[in-house]
């Protein structure tokens, strides 16, 4: 059995939920004003904010998704780690301080600081909501995926549970409770990931020669919906069977059987000279209406495991294909597009940007970003060991890559499994609460008070914000249930593309080009958002994963839109700004001395 009901896991999990809620109710008494609710009154200490950055940013995609991708496909998963971290360089060196100087509650404040334009507020608010919703879906899916094996609840129950807890966190104390939940989560994630990596290195690598480790496995879904594993009903009773856990080394250098404890560099160099069993899968649809997926072991050299683009099932498989010059290699363009989106996306994510308003000044914004880079960078280096450790742990579930990290912990002991599972759950809580607070800020400040010009008192803003949090929470729950089958990390890649296409051109040009106009900013946000969303909806990945259609029927040649839509946002901003110089620049508006709509 890969998954057993674990009372320890349930106990630790409930303890984490209770601590999280207690923290939220404690801060609720201190949060009364809109500034306190939406931006923690600018009173969060920079170190706490820096670790909270990690808690906010290291989502289910980073912890569950990347670890699973490395465990299943090797180095290709690590490409995400590198791209996600590189984006922080843009955030620190280009965006952080000006954003803090120009804004107050939302990133639309900063964009609109020179223009006072309702068009900018509306487009930035819609962009914030779209990106937040896109980012929320994989978090909620991750929560459901986690709860299912951990507590034995169905997927929807996990999504519902996360939704309710998160709404409680946000409704009680807004940004203050969200920040401290993220601080707690960020700290625990780093500490226990480091512990796990030390244990991986101490255990070293060993060869598993047992036949059960390398036998083919099948999963059949019958026409009536029954699940058969290796031809028998799935379960633990008589006449039933379950999937065998997999993931092992089939050969070590110099015919060793086990290595004993290894250092961090030694672990990688030994693995490079070893052979690991990875798994390929193929699904066939049978005449009786059933479908059978066959999982086949594929012994793979360690050198291939640690190289990009070598696994045939990976999203980056086309990197090593040699096509003639005359034929465009869309896989390479897709890869370039994703790496560009990851690089540009971080500094465009609304829930990350609003964290700059929770500290008192620019110096604190800078210091907290540096702490964020340190903690997040450390974690991403560890993901390589987590993924490779899971790959060789003998505990993988071949049907679910998202569970690689918790199952890796289970290969050591029950307590570590319980703690890592609970941390993975708080990972979801921390990120989702940050996303919901970003969305509610956009609704209250950008839409209701700025665009619709509804006059609200401070107290009313907080009350409306709490209702908005509830509504966004319900939307997140519904989408989390509907998108159950989607890959967690994959969806986050889309959110980065939309954020980078819609928001980054405006942020950068506002800072570096004096001729930027309000019309240029509004047009760039709208075009960037619509073009990237349309591209995603017409891509091969969406055709196969969402519509159930063959990917080669897709309208666009590759799935990641960034390489087209990010430059498009810049071009639109420049062209529209040049055409609207007489009315739209900040200087013209200032001279006219009137608010602009």
């Amino acid at each position: 059995m890969i998954y057993d009901a674990s009372p320890v896991a349930v106990g630790v999990f409930l303890l984490f939920v209770v601590i999280t809620l207690a923290l939220s109710f404690y801060f609720a008494r201190k949060t009364k004003s809109a500034a306190g609710y939406f931006a923690a009154g600018g009173e969060i200490p920079w170190f706490v904010n820096g670790v909270a950055f990690a808690g906010d940013y290291l989502s289910a995609a980073s912890f569950l998704g990347i670890c699973g991708m490395i465990a299943f496909y090797g180095y290709d998963g690590f490409l995400y780690s590198i791209g996600y971290l590189a984006g922080w360089v843009v955030a620190l060196l280009v965006i952080a301080e000006p954003l803090k100087r120009m804004g107050r509650f939302t990133f639309a404040d900063a964009l609109d600081s020179r223009f006072h334009s309702r068009g900018i507020k509306l487009s930035a608010a819609i962009s914030t909501l779209v990106v937040s919703i896109f980012y929320l879906i994989p978090q909620m899916v991750g929560a459901g995926a986690l709860i299912k094996p951990l507590l034995g609840f169905p997927h929807y129950a996990g999504v519902l549970l996360v939704g309710v807890v998160v709404v409680l966190i946000v409704v009680t104390a807004g940004m203050v409770s969200t920040t401290y939940v993220q601080f707690m989560k960020g700290s625990l994630l780093l500490i226990f990931t480091a512990v796990l990596v030390v244990m991986i290195l101490y255990r070293g690598l060993h060869v598993d020669e047992s036949p059960r480790a390398s036998n083919e496995q099948t999963v059949t879904i019958t026409a009536s919906g029954e699940k058969l594993v290796n031809g028998l009903p799935q379960g633990t009773g008589e006449g039933q069977t379950d999937l065998r856990p997999v993931g092992h080394v089939s050969r070590l250098p110099d015919d060793m059987k086990e290595t004993g404890p290894l250092g961090p560099i030694e672990f990688l160099s030994v693995l490079q000279k070893s052979e690991v069993v990875l798994w390929s899968s193929k699904t066939e649809h049978n005449e009786d209406g059933s479908s059978t997926t066959t999982y086949t072991p594929v012994p793979t050299s360690g050198a291939d495991v640690l190289q990009p683009g070598t696994h045939p099932k990976s999203k980056f498989a086309g990197l090593r294909s040699d096509q003639s010059i005359s034929k465009i290699n869309w896989s390479k363009i897709n890869f370039l597009s994703l790496m560009l989106a990851l690089f540009c996306g971080t500094a465009s994510l609304p829930h990350i940007l609003i964290r700059y308003y929770t500290v008192k000044d620019q110096a604190s914004a800078r210091k907290s970003t540096i702490v964020g880079i340190g903690t997040i960078g450390f974690f991403y280096v560890l993901t390589l060991y987590l993924g490779l450790g899971a790959m060789t742990s003998g505990q993988l579930d071949i049907t679910n890559s998202n569970m690689a990290a918790p199952l890796l912990a289970k290969s050591f002991n029950e307590w570590l499994f319980a703690i890592i599972s609970a941390i993975a759950f708080t990972t979801v809580l921390g990120t989702v609460s940050g996303l919901i607070i970003a969305a509610t800020g956009a609704v209250v400040h950008d839409l209701i008070t700025s665009f619709f010009r509804v006059k609200l008192t401070d107290h009313e803003k907080v009350r409306v914000g709490k209702w908005a949090a509830g509504v966004v929470g319900v939307i997140a729950i519904i989408l989390g249930i509907l998108f159950e089958k989607m890959n967690v990390n994959f969806l986050v890649g889309w959110a980065f593309s939309v954020a980078a296409s819609a928001n980054l051109p405006s942020l950068v040009m506002l800072l570096f080009w004096k001729r930027t106009t309000k019309q240029g900013i509004t047009a760039a946000i709208v075009v960037g958002m619509v073009s990237s969303l349309s591209w995603i909806l017409l891509s091969g990945d969406t055709y196969s994963a969402v519509y159930g259609l063959p990917a080669d029927q897709a309208f666009v040649p590759f799935s990641q839109p960034g390489i087209v839509t990010i430059p498009l946002g810049f071009i639109v901003l420049i062209v529209i700004s040049l055409f609207t110089q007489r009315t739209g620049t900040a200087e013209v508006i200032a001279k006219a001395g009137q608010p602009v709509t």
């Binding site: 690590f78 360089v89 990688l268």
Partner: protein, 109 residues
Amino acid sequence: MAGLDHFSSSAPVNDKGPADDETEEISARNARNGVILFLMYVVVYSTYVGLNAFKPTVMDTVPLLGVNLAVLYGVGLIVLALVLALVYAWLCRSTRNGPSAADGQEQSR
């Protein structure tokens, strides 16, 4: 303790936020330093992405420590981000009220 203590909830936070320690001159100097460091990182990151896309076999070479270039370069990019962040923090150390403010302002002239 600096960086950890929550500020007093009674601290005044007006519409524009608390007063900032950094003058426009210092902010401009920080922005200039930030862009230079950013461009340095862009070159290193673009080279990495370009090699993976167009010369992936280069990543297979094992230059040192028995670990291939893909791993060394990837981890190196993460470490470089932190190093540049620390360099940036050092370059931005002076503020209006700080001990080295005068130096910083002198240089920016």
